[in-house]
Amino acid sequence: MRVAAHVQNHHQEADSIDVFGFWLYILTDCILFASLFATYLVLHKPHAVGPALKSYIDLSYVLGETLFLLASNFTFGMSILALYKNKPALVKAWLILTFVLGACFVGMEVNEFIHLAREGYSWQVSGAASAFFTLVGTHGFHVTMGLLWIIVMIVQLSFFKISDHTKRRMIYLGLFWNFLDIVWIFVFTIVYLMAVI
């Protein structure tokens, strides 16, 4: 009994170190975003060359994107709660809903980029535009990777059911998905709302 408890304990400790490592990855990713934000802010000074972003953006569209991402964050939380209650089918259902909401977000963003480029605000018009597409695009790319990860997670849950491993992976995915929504708060505030003021 004691040996089993010891092994269990040791296992959990190793898991904690793994999760801490993933947490550090997320924090370094924050620093990547910080440098992109800094670049964006520097290139978007009031009298920057090139067309102003202001006349191209539609805030109600951005609000829609924001709500999709926020809702997907909430549904992911629900799938974690279902995981605690050991209900694999429910976990998968919430994950699928999270995927759909996240995919709506990415779809809207891609559509927005295409729209901007058609209207003449494309990547190469100015340094400010490059910084805009790099910052928002990097966030969108992260969300796309998160979507792939959700698919992988759904497949894993179908094969391995709810085990210690799948639980730990769900925690990683949760941290990542939540982190993306936190970055988005600053994207919509600094990029979209500040552009309009």
């Binding site: 959990q12 898991d15 904690s16 999760v19 801490f20 947490w23 550090l24 924090l27 924050c30 620093i31 910080a34 440098s35 934000f37 800094a38 670049t39 802010l41 520097v42 000074k45 805030l59 109600s60 951005v62 609000l63 924001t66 709500l67 926020l70 964050n73 909430f74 939380g77 629900m78 974690i80 709660l81 605690y84 639980k167 730990r168 925690i171 949760g174 941290l175 939540n178 929504d181 936190i182 708060i185 600053f186 919509f188 505030t189 709302l193 500040m194 309009v196 003021i197």
Partner: protein
């Protein structure tokens, strides 16, 4: 048996719902303030930034569930705070340097 949370905090349904409602309200306040801009730029600017920082805190507390309850979660929290310091240094530092550069070029 309680679920291991690896210091990432236990998720709770009530806390999640409260977090969602607060985030929604703060998001709507921020968008409402600029659609169209209702006050002077300084006030609008402060308003959207306060809303963003509050929403950031709400997400960290209600969704990420950062806390200082266990050794592991304290390590997570400390590394998180350290990152915030680095973030502020990178962003504020870049702006400061570029602003001072621009000021010296123009005067």
């Amino acid at each position: 048996m309680s679920e291991p949370d690896f210091g990432t905090g236990k998720k709770k349904f009530n806390v999640y719902v409260i977090g969602l409602v607060l985030c929604l309200v703060l998001t709507l306040i921020a968008f409402w303030a600029v659609m169209p801009p209702k006050y002077s730029p300084t006030i609008t600017f402060s308003l959207i930034f306060i809303a963003a920082i509050l929403q950031f805190l709400v997400q960290v507390v209600c969704f990420l569930r950062l806390n200082a309850a266990t050794e592991q979660s304290r390590i997570n929290l400390m590394s998180f705070l350290f990152t915030v310091v680095v973030l502020v240094a990178v962003v504020a530092g870049s702006l400061w340097i570029m602003w001072s550069l621009s000021y010296n070029m123009m005067h």
